[in-house]
Symmetry: C2
Subunit: 202 residues, 2 copies
């Protein structure tokens, strides 16, 4: 009796360390699947169809939107990026866990289209630390820094969208917390109902 | 901003390994508190008041029941055993986690009197394994074995009372699963609401 897999979403403001924590989780739990996005941008050198992205024309992409084929879709600098629903739900049905690292708009779309998704908000312990991290990256102008901090506050204010909040004190601890959440979600009575009923029916 | 502690209940049928898993969790996470029970039975050699038990007379105990001072209470072979509510909730208010190892009747009482409790059902992967373990203990007659297995099935049928089910394949894995559940519960957005609101108000 194979349980369904989980759809796990890691979100959080710029500077909170989503990408680093996400990569560390996948190193420690390589059985978790990354989802492959669909995009309208052209392949870069070395990028392979179905591995890095599914490459589509704008017309194809718009048709996919019209067909409701996306768990989430967004446009960034005039290119589209989206998550194909069928591929992800197919993995989940087979019992595989799929994890996303995505901004809050994507997280909201995924929750709306697949309410069983587990949404984790990754955040620094306070805004001071977030500010320091953004400054350290050295990529922010004073104006963009201000915008990012204000966006971060705006995102945290939407905390009720999320199931969990993980404070990124260290990458290792944050990764452990997410793995603990995944373990707990797999131990939910609701997630094991079919197996329990089978045990009871014997 | 200190979050409240958790009240964690480990329950499950005889033979599932509650005691062993409970002890292993406390070894790995010594910061978790055991609750000290109140009892009407006489102290055995070496047992200290307030460490092993709070020792009470039958009259005192019955007064405590009448006052609603227990999270759960039960009688075993004409002695009473119970969990004092004030002591446990006091620890939880201070942010300490308190863990119980208790039978399903106790678990049900605790959930009724403190609905935020986290109830974990510890079970073997199937009833065959449970039977083998009970036989290995060498303490069961054929009749008592039959009773225990039938009780176990009856307990599992009450799975909806529980939040989580942990399969005790190995003690180490089961302890890790419970620690994962505790970590996840501490990461719930609801458990961190006060801290989040404080961050937003600055």
């Amino acid at each position: 009796m194979k349980n369904k897999g989980l759809l796990i979403v890691i979100s959080g403001p710029s500077g909170a360390g989503k990408g680093t924590v996400y990569d560390r989780i996948l190193e420690r739990a390589p059985e978790i699947q990354k989802s492959v996005s669909v995009t309208t941008r052209l392949p870069r050198a070395g990028e392979q169809e179905g591995v890095h992205y599914y490459f589509k024309t704008l017309t194809q992409y718009q048709q996919m939107i019209a067909n409701g084929e996306f768990l989430e879709t967004a446009s960034v600098y005039s290119n589209y990026y989206g998550t194909p629903k069928a591929a992800v739900l197919g993995l989940i049905e087979k019992g595989r866990d799929v994890m996303f690292e995505i901004d809050i708009h994507g997280a909201r779309q995924i929750k709306a289209r697949y309410p069983q998704s587990i949404l984790i908000f990754l955040m620094t312990r306070d805004f001071e630390v977030l500010k320091e991290r953004l400054i350290k990256r050295g990529t922010e102008t004073p104006a963009s820094l201000k915008t990012r901090l204000s966006s971060a506050k705006n995102e945290l204010a939407q905390y009720e969208l999320f199931d969990y909040i993980v404070f990124n004190d260290t990458v290792e601890q944050a990764a452990s917390d997410v793995l603990g959440i995944i373990c707990a979600e797999k131990s939910r009575v609701k997630a094991n109902e079919a197996a329990i009923k089978k045990m009871l029916s014997n």
